[in-house]
Symmetry: C2
Subunit: 299 residues, 2 copies
């Protein structure tokens, strides 16, 4: 198969590059520990070439993620919801790299909730474009800031961000809950116990979190099981609230993006009676292929 473009999935803490065919099939992959936070002095061009310098400079490059934010290489304004392939393609920005690569930067989306609170994402819209099959769909992208994304006939109508991954990290590393913890062994039973409690009590998160301490104090959970239990409470609380707010993953491959974390979401959704599967991690490439096609890059 002939390479038609280069896809960059460039986030805050990760960098993934793909040499791909026009149908999104991946021919080559490079990953590097150069998320935008790790790139100093704005040397994004150099960071890109260090990773993909051997790839044909004539291939168009299309990239999505926090690389298009104010802290990234080329800031692209948010496109407001509702937005689908056409609105996202129209919002792309274009720039030549030093070696003459033609780079297209994909915009993120913004959404204004009914009670006047804005929400934003960068990168997840591209995963959704790669995964969407039409009709009414809801996707979940687990992570530092998880998103629940509602799609109607390929148009993203609304979404909500949950700070689940970040809440886990700060409570694990900086709160009294971490003091009783040892290691980070994955304990599925403890995870599911926490997920059930989080699902049963989505509203009482500040209260339920304290059970991480008391179950440890009363020797009802081992110290090396407490991290999994904490993760379960947070993910269960997220899923419980999203369901209560009317969101429900409505197709099998609804969990996008994160591999290990994705399987935890799938397990917690099962506790909630929802059958879901994690989509292939290359769904972002398929989304970028669709945008590249809409931009006429394969003409």
């Amino acid at each position: 198969m002939r390479a038609a473009f280069i896809a960059l999935d460039w986030g805050t803490t990760s960098f993934r590059a793909y040499r791909a065919a026009a149908n999104g099939s991946v021919l080559d992959t490079v990953t590097a520990p150069q998320g935008i936070l790790a790139v100093t002095d704005g040397a994004f061009d150099e960071a890109m070439e260090a990773a993909i310098g051997s790839w044909d400079v004539a291939l168009p490059v299309i990239c999505a993620g926090m690389i298009t934010s104010r802290q990234g290489w080329h800031e692209v304004p948010y496109v407001p919801c509702p937005a689908g392939l056409n609105e996202i393609a129209s919002g792309c920005a274009n720039q030549r790299s030093r070696r003459g690569r033609n780079i297209h930067f994909v915009p993120g989306l913004s959404y204004m909730s009914g009670d006047g609170i804005p929400d934003v994402m960068r990168g997840e819209e591209t995963q959704v474009l790669g995964a969407s099959r039409g009709g009414s769909e809801t996707f979940v992208t687990p992570g530092t800031h998880s998103k629940w994304i509602d799609v109607e006939d390929g148009i993203i109508h609304s979404f909500a961000t949950y700070m689940t991954g970040e809440a886990y990290a700060v409570m694990r590393n900086h709160s009294i809950l971490g003091k009783l913890m040892q290691g980070d062994a994955a304990d599925e039973a403890a995870f599911l116990r926490g997920a059930k409690l989080g699902l049963d009590r989505p509203g009482g998160l500040l209260h339920t979190l304290f059970s991480v301490r008391t179950l440890g104090l009363f020797d009802q959970l081992r110290m090396d099981s407490l991290p999994s239990y904490l993760s379960g409470i947070l993910i269960g609380s997220e899923i419980g609230h999203a369901i209560a707010a009317g969101r429900k993953p409505s197709q099998e491959t609804a969990v996008l993006g994160a591999a290990v974390l994705g399987s935890r979401y799938v397990a917690a959704m099962k506790v909630a009676g929802i059958s879901a599967q994690a989509a292939a991690p290359t769904v972002a490439v398929q989304g970028l292929a669709r945008i590249a096609d809409a931009l006429g890059l394969f003409a």
Copy 2:
């Protein structure tokens, strides 16, 4: 008035000593920055004498708070709910200090929720004993770990801990939300805006927290207003859940303990339609006086 006892309110981060009459009237007060975390090598006796060495060694001493925890001076087992003055007095432990002071350590309480999750407190039970006037009462003790405490005819039947203060500290100091913040100026309008959102959406805390970032990004809140807004969301979420769980402060002086924080709780409760006032900070001394009396120390 004649001094009848010495009351110590000795917590994780604070130390308050009172020379008091049998009716709880305070004759003398000493505060010191020697919470139990600041006392090294178990030198609690020395720390106490450094603060109250000039007070009559013949006066009985009675103390409550984390000083009776495993990390404190003398661990006293939790007394299970339901528990009132008699159960708490019966659970006290006794020890002579090096200078011969007769010290009584007040136990904390434990509570097992219907779904099998234990909860604990140390010190708040004493504040409640000082504030309770009989009948059905609900008290709130704001702080690092807030408590909502249900009392029936002076007996503490159940309570719930909320990690509100600690969640504020870790999100403020260690999450991306803190990155947009400047200063910690108290902005009452921003606090009340956050409190209203937290009250309206108690279940969606992980989602609502993200609005601290987006309202900053979209210049809808100033950087120095964001800390107050974050505090409002967390306190509103706590109050919203506690009310939804059937707890409601049922008398005017329902907010115990923290002065500045207490006034924030009173303001957020007003948004929720609840009229409450902060009790006098010496309510712990009145509770300790009641326990001392039950122990026969004034005989």
